[in-house]
Symmetry: C2
Subunit: 230 residues, 2 copies
Amino acid sequence: MVAHSLRARVRAGMIDEIKAVARRHLATDGANLSLRAVARDMGMVSSAIYRYFPSRDDLLTALILEAYEALGDAVEAADAGVDQADLRGRWHAVCRAARAWALAHPAEYALLYGSPVPGYAAPEDTVAPAQRPPVTLVGILRDGVAGGRIDASGEELPEPLRSDVAELAALLAVDLPPALLARGMAGWTQLFGLISFELFGRINKTLPHRDEYFDHQTALMADLIGLPAA
Amino acid sequence: MVAHSLRARVRAGMIDEIKAVARRHLATDGANLSLRAVARDMGMVSSAIYRYFPSRDDLLTALILEAYEALGDAVEAADAGVDQADLRGRWHAVCRAARAWALAHPAEYALLYGSPVPGYAAPEDTVAPAQRPPVTLVGILRDGVAGGRIDASGEELPEPLRSDVAELAALLAVDLPPALLARGMAGWTQLFGLISFELFGRINKTLPHRDEYFDHQTALMADLIGLPAA
DNA sequence: GCTCGTCAAGAGCAGTGCTCTCGGTTTTGA
DNA sequence: TCAAAACCGAGAGCACTGCTCTTGACGAGC
């Protein structure tokens, strides 16, 4: 099967090269990725690309998937690199990792979290990788509750909401008090908003010390969630 | 000047009709607005549009400006419709108004707060209307401090950040303790994140009671900011 | 009445995603 | 081993896009 493997290998290499060139175009020209430009860059004709990706959207989907995985890797690695008992340290590490990845790959971040492309619907494959960052965050909460370092027994959600959030907790397979999960979701929402504001240029120009601002804002959310200091 | 006024009037009407048709296209087809399709809808030829808008980006800019104004109107009206002493009520009213406008005009919201169009740079005219919602929010804080209903004297920001935020307060012409303004900005960031998550389909399907979820999340932020109950 | 500015229309250019066909190569299976 | 099948790149072509330029008609002001 060397022959078959050889053909498959050059094909896989071709796919990788197309994705690499496309990612380069994405970084420079923004979200409007041109198949013809990618083909031109590779010394090919545009129709040849269709041997490897049935449509432009499929190429985009492949890039999106890889971007989700890269972000998930960065976030989980940051979480694993901190003393697991230091909940607040993990929280900040995860937030910083997500922001750093977004700043390093703005176009890909926009692809993931920007306004959805009109005709494009994300396939089912993307939902699992997309949930890795929030799952990492709720993992911090889970460990905190399990270790007794987060006390969430005092708060109760009003009823239509409580069962919704409880169902979400069951879906995520984490045993968390709904009120605490809701606070965690607030933190995740805030993290996304912070990064998006900074990346999409809506942060006010009068904020030169962006790192400090980011850390302070995420610290506020850590307070809101109830993460204890190390 | 009746004659000239007449000519100017039909021209203004033409501009309004183009914008109306474009807005309709925006609502149905999403962000990729086609000048030719707009012209076709009006029984015109595409080149005729260029008599009124020098480019597609200029049309988009006009739509963006109007959208900012509409959102600003909705937000400020909601704020004005509540007893000004009820800070928390004003906060919730503003949040709900922003969300309602976004849900009613998803494509325009995406235009304002989605990922920026690659080649497009928002002109200077848009920054003032864009600041109306956050300015409305800090207005609530200003009133709270002035009325003694918000006590923000206890918190101090660390130094590189404190002067940044203080400068921002000066730029917004509000006399707020930096720490409080930072909390307000967290609320604004959270509001944007909440709406974007819901609109861009990232909110988990297992959350049928979205109104309750939204209210609860914004209430969390009201707590964080320190808004007193009515 | 004449001139000038404004207007809609049309042709045309460069670019896009995508389809189809045509040869040539490689892999496969009898 | 050798033909059949699968695969591949190139090219032409379709419908579409934003945009420019020219042409001819219309209306307002001197």
